[in-house]
Each structure stands twice: as C-alpha cells, then as structure tokens.
Symmetry: C2
Subunit: 205 residues, 2 copies
C-alpha cells in the first residue's frame, strides 16, 4: 500500500493562483496518498498575485519535514529570491524531501537556493531570463513542459504545473492513476514533457 | 475604455479548487477590467473539497450587487442545493448581473435556483445525472466544453472552467485579449466550445 506523503505548498505574498491550485486539484484526487499542507513564514493568510488569499496551515519555523515540496511562481518571487528565511527553509527541507517540485518562476527560488546547481530544470517562458539569472550553474532547458532530474520536477509557466503534477502522480502511483486524475478533472493532459509551443512563442527557440 | 466589472466568486465548504482558481487565473490577467471578490455566507475562510481554505472578502448579507457571478462545483454542491440562503442570494444577484457563470456542478446550484429554466446549459460529465436532476426544465447539453445562453456561461467539469473563462474574456475584451491570457499562462486553450471528449468517456453520447 502506498504510504501517505505530505505535500508542503510554499506560500508567499504574490504567489500565482494556478501554479498552486492546478497541481493541488490533481494531487487532491488521491487524498489517501497526498496530504496537502499550506506552509508560510507567518500565520494567517497569504495573498496571491491575483488577490484571493489562502489560509496558512503550518509555519517554516515549525521545522516539520515534508515528503514533497511544491514551490509556485508569481510576481512575489522577485521579492522572495532575496528572502533568506524562505531560501534556507527550502534548502533544509529539500535534503530529506522525496520530491521537490516547482511551477513557473518557482524554479528561480530553487535555483537561488543553490538546489538546482548542475541539474536540468525549466521555468516560465516569458520570464525565462529572470529565472536563468537566479542560477548560473543550472542546465536550463528552454523547451520543455516540465523537466524531471533526480528528485526535482520543475515546470514551465503557470498551466504547465498541472501537466507536471500529473507526471509526478504517474511516478508515484502509475500511469493509469495519472490518466484517471485528468479524466475526473476533464483535463486534456499534455503527457509528453517535451511538448512546449510556448518556448517558440516567447522567442526562446 | 472598458469599465471595471466585479466578479463575485461564490465560496462554500467543499468547493472544487480548480473550478475557482482556473478562471481566476485568467480573469486576473486583466485587473483593470475584472475585480475579484470572494463571497460566502459566513466570515473567515472556507475550506475547499481538497482541503486548502480561502479567505472570505464579503458576505451574502452585505447585499452588494456584482457584475459577474462565478459559481464553482465540488462535493459541497450536494449540500448547497438545499441551502436556501445561497440559492436566494444567487437568484437575487442574477437579476442584475451582467454575466452568470458556473463550473462543473456549479450549474446544479443555478438550476436548483430556477435560473436556468428554459436555457441551454451544461455541467460536470461524471456527475451529469446529479446536475440534470436539479433542473428538469433546463435544456441540458451533454456534449459541450461550455455553453453560452444569454447571460449564462455554464461549463463542463473542473478544467473546462478555464476554457469558459477565456470565452467570457473574449466576449468582454475580444479574441486577442483571451488568446493573450492563454499565452501568458502557457495554457492550451480549447477555444471551440463544442470540443468535449469527456462526454463520450463518461458515456453521455
């Protein structure tokens, strides 16, 4: 039987809504496997880039280890790349986490923390220069829906996080479970991680 | 110049995450046009079907009229179809709202309130019999990504709300604005409202 894995969703002011709630919709299909926890620096609520705010379940300072990390992007990453409390927490958690995932400019945070050095990774295509600037020693992949390298699953912008999360569900629970999630959510899964028309649209290839 | 339109997102316990935050990701691209407000029966926060909770900005009892309603689905709709406070609020708001939208089983709530009588509408494909049972006088469309009838935009399950919201952005701001939203969010928009492979998968056609 598959053990329960806790997913720590990292919240910060100005996180991108779909980066968080697209993947959580998919992981939420299997509550017996994935236990979702919203983690932030401070108690209360955290406002998204779009306005709506989410409730914080747990703090960085609680020092509880999680099995999976989900790091969203959004305007807020421009500030958070300089937040040593958040970067230190990511570094600490990533050591023992089974999987570390990011959506959009979330990979800029992982890169800035040094976690992606020597790894293949991707990020938001419209803001790819910002993402790359945070990790000069990362092997940035310009054309990919998502990139899996060891325990790291980094995805392209916003909606790509949904496809990546299904890729991780496939890894943990198998292809059929991932396909079933997509069908329940009436989602047209791009299951080929190399599919990426947006790299060309944004002039990266 | 396009006026600012308030979008009232109806929150209730057990709402489906992506039903809410997929469309809000897209509407949120144009904050000068769409002002997002989370509305519920009680103050504080409301827990989604998947767990994470959202902050309430405004109450039904505030009696403020909104321009656009967004009614999500989720497990909670099974309870809310019997919540006269919510149904009365929907009925009241729908009279003067410019657009009334639903995602997934959200159309069951609109139907139960009597708002869809004589209209074409759709809903979640896996739970289509539940949706239909709430509105015997609705012209239910079994195969459609979303259905536009007068001021009502009802969509199929979960992810279909994203495509519907882009359809409404097209209506309000034009095709190019909708396409631009999709590109920014790296989203593969199904812009044909009749596209619906899930009707067949769920045995409806």
């Amino acid at each position: 039987m598959q053990k329960v894995m806790t997913i720590a969703v990292v919240l910060f002011n100005g996180f991108e809504l779909l980066d968080v709630f697209g993947p959580l919709e998919m992981f939420g299909m299997y509550p017996e496997t994935f236990d979702i926890v919203m983690v932030a620096e401070q108690v209360g609520f955290v406002a998204s880039a779009q306005g709506p705010a989410s409730k914080v379940d747990r703090l960085f300072s609680d020092e509880i280890q999680h099995d999976i990390l989900l790091v969203p992007g959004g305007q807020g990453t421009r500030v958070e790349v300089n937040n040593s409390t958040l970067l230190d927490w990511l570094t600490d958690q990533a050591k023992l986490a089974e999987y570390v995932t990011s959506v959009c400019t979330g990979s800029a945070l992982l890169a800035k923390a040094g976690l992606l050095d020597g790894m293949r990774a991707t990020g938001n295509k419209m803001n790819f220069s910002f993402v790359m600037s945070q990790g000069p020693n990362v092997n940035w992949v310009k054309e990919a829906r998502w990139v899996e390298h060891d325990k790291f699953f980094t995805s392209s912008g916003v909606s790509a996080g949904i496809d990546m999360s299904l890729g991780l569900i496939e890894k943990v629970l198998g292809k059929e479970a991932a396909k079933q999630s997509a069908i329940w959510a009436e989602y047209d899964w791009h299951e080929d991680a190399s599919w990426d028309p947006f790299a060309k649209i944004h002039g990266l290839v």
